[in-house]
């Protein structure tokens, strides 16, 4: 399966899950579908048959509210049956609205409160360095999440300890919970912030699979530096009426909306 095909499956799964479960955050999940498809389809060294493989690359979704996309990616690459996705967000399901590891093979860390993932990823990267192991640790953050001070604590630490096995990817779709990033807590000059913290920083188009794959494969571009990719994305990417709309941070597609969204995805 190409990463493009995997991204489409992730989006269709997420659409189905949001429709069946009435869950929110579909816009956030669509925003990262291409990044996840490239990671799970190409970049990450993992083994769905052995989720605890010792030298696997680690991936942490720090923006846990987009967990549906990770569940979909894991299921589509074989960590658990795709059929299970239908239980998402439902009574009695362990596929919670924010990503949870319990009972779900392949999830490295449960998140949901923002600002946790990068610190844990940093600990994993530090531990790997200490042991002389060479796998990489990836953490995917939202842009709004960068309001949380804990990320900058981790940023200081990772650069200080030269964790070049650590990769942060930021889903920079420029929208947060109520309005734009710019109108809430401006992050610009964003790349310069990371650079000044000592990170190997690169801005990339977040839906271009070729660029994403090359970027992730280039790590570490500078030995001794942690890497951050500021991925310029579109919230709700793939369904025109969801794109760049804060509404779709919350709204679950029903009826005609669901049909229209599915049609757009299939025709793309």
């Amino acid at each position: 399966m190409t990463t493009e095909a995997l991204a489409l499956r992730i989006r269709k799964d997420v659409l189905m899950m949001a429709n069946l479960g009435g869950s929110s955050h579909i816009g956030s999940a669509f925003s990262i579908a291409d990044i996840l498809a490239v990671l799970y389809g190409k970049t990450l060294h993992t083994d769905p048959a052995n989720p605890q493989l010792a030298d696997r690359d680690r991936f942490i979704l720090s923006k846990g509210h987009a967990g549906a996309a990770v569940y979909a990616a894991l299921a589509e690459v074989g960590f658990f049956p795709v059929e299970k996705l239908k239980t998402h967000y439902q009574n009695g399901s362990d596929l919670s609205g924010h990503v949870s590891h319990k009972g779900i093979p392949g999830v490295e860390l449960s998140t949901g409160s923002l600002g946790h993932g990068l610190s844990v990823a940093t600990g994993m990267a530090y531990s790997a360095k200490l042991a002389g192991r060479t796998h990489k640790v990836f953490a995917l953050l939202s842009d709004g999440e960068c309001d949380e001070g804990s990320n900058w604590e981790a940023a200081l630490f990772a650069a200080h300890h030269q964790l070049d096995n650590l990769v942060a990817i930021i889903d920079y779709n420029k929208l947060q919970s109520l309005t734009t990033i710019a109108a809430t807590l401006g992050l610009e000059p964003f790349a310069q912030k990371w650079e000044s913290f000592g990170w190997q920083t690169r801005e990339i188009p977040g839906h271009d699979h070729g660029v994403l794959a090359d970027a992730f494969a280039s790590v570490p571009a500078t030995p001794g530096k942690p890497s951050v990719f500021i991925a310029h994305t579109t919230k709700g990417k793939g369904v025109s009426f969801m794109e760049n709309q804060v509404l779709w941070h919350y709204r679950a597609p029903k009826g005609a909306e669901y049909e229209a969204a599915l049609k757009e995805l299939e025709q793309a």
Binding site: S110, G115, G123, S127, E153
Partner: protein, 309 residues
């Protein structure tokens, strides 16, 4: 207590390479011997407690046994959500340690008064909560948390009781330790303030009052058997903690008894009731000020005995 903790930690870390200690930039004059003996197992995370616990979780999920160290509230309250979501929910081998239980740093002000941590931590699902009362318990508790798989909290105190173990005595998580035998009444204490319970009991003994004293070094899991036994075998229960009475040791003991339909003849919780302390002073001074010293404990026991008969 912290000296015992560090010495024990050195001996454990030298034998167990999984052990790592992360400090939140505290422990001057304390961690140097550890750093010298186990340099690769020591890390200063800087003044960044949230990141410290996140790091600890990441390292623990990679197979290590990770201690986090800070003073009083910083190591618990500042990073409470990291302890809850990251460490505890993942059953990670994160061993949270704070120095400065109660008024250990009484003169430094309310930021340094650790007076709600026990209730907060004992409400965390699965988090073993240890509050040693003497140096022996502190050392044993340090070893016990390494053996225990999962997230733990260890609260260290500046002053300690001078109690010592009996020959062959074993420390066990979740098993209260009887440091004075008696059947007239039971004082259940947790933390260094155990010293006040023991002093009060020893003083009362001279007047023919036999107080049983239990050191409840484990708040969670709680030794309900010892509590029930105390309620049934002695004339009443007095709990003592350098901590708010809301939800701490006293609350835990009361819950354990009422849940089982056991009603001690008399019952009293001694702890902090006055809210935040804007008054500062030494640990001894503040115990006296808030009526938690040995004199107050002795008076409370006399009062309870009077109410009983």
């Amino acid at each position: 207590m912290k000296e015992v903790f560090v010495q024990k930690l050195i001996s454990l870390a030298e034998r167990d390479p999984r052990i790592v200690v992360i400090t939140g930039d505290l422990g001057f004059g304390m961690f140097e011997p550890f750093q010298q003996r186990c340099p690769k197992q020591f890390l200063n995370a800087g003044v960044a407690e949230q990141n410290m616990v996140g790091l600890a979780t990441g390292m623990a999920l990679d197979g290590r046994v990770v201690f986090t160290y800070s003073i009083g509230n910083f190591g618990v309250l500042r990073c409470l959500e990291q302890i809850r979501n990251d460490a505890a929910y993942h059953d990670a081998n994160v061993k949270v340690v704070t120095m400065g239980g109660g008024f250990s740093y009484g003169a430094l002000g309310i930021s340094h008064h650790a007076t709600e941590d026990i209730s907060v931590m004992r409400s965390m699902p699965g988090v073993v909560t240890l509050v040693p009362g003497d140096n022996w318990e502190a050392g044993e508790a340090t070893e016990a948390v390494v053996k225990h798989s999962g997230t733990t909290y260890l609260r260290l105190d500046k002053t300690v009781a001078d109690t010592t173990p009996e020959a062959g005595e074993h420390f066990e998580i979740g098993r209260a330790r009887q440091v004075r035998a008696g059947s007239d009444i039971t004082i259940i204490a947790t933390g260094g303030i155990l010293s006040c319970a023991v002093k009060a009991a020893d003083s009362l003994r001279r007047f023919g009052v036999q107080c049983r004293v239990l050191s409840m070094h484990t708040i969670k899991p709680l030794d309900t058997a010892a509590i029930v036994q105390a309620a049934q075998e002695t004339g009443g229960i007095l709990t003592l903690e350098e901590h708010t009475v809301e939800g701490g040791l006293g609350g835990a003991v009361a819950e354990a008894l009422l849940d089982r339909g056991i009603h001690p003849r008399v019952f009293q919780r001694m702890g902090l009731r006055a809210g935040f302390s804007s008054i500062v002073g030494s640990q001894d001074y503040l115990r006296r000020h808030y009526g938690l010293d040995e004199t107050a404990v002795e008076a409370a026991v006399r009062d309870l005995l009077g109410r009983r008969s």
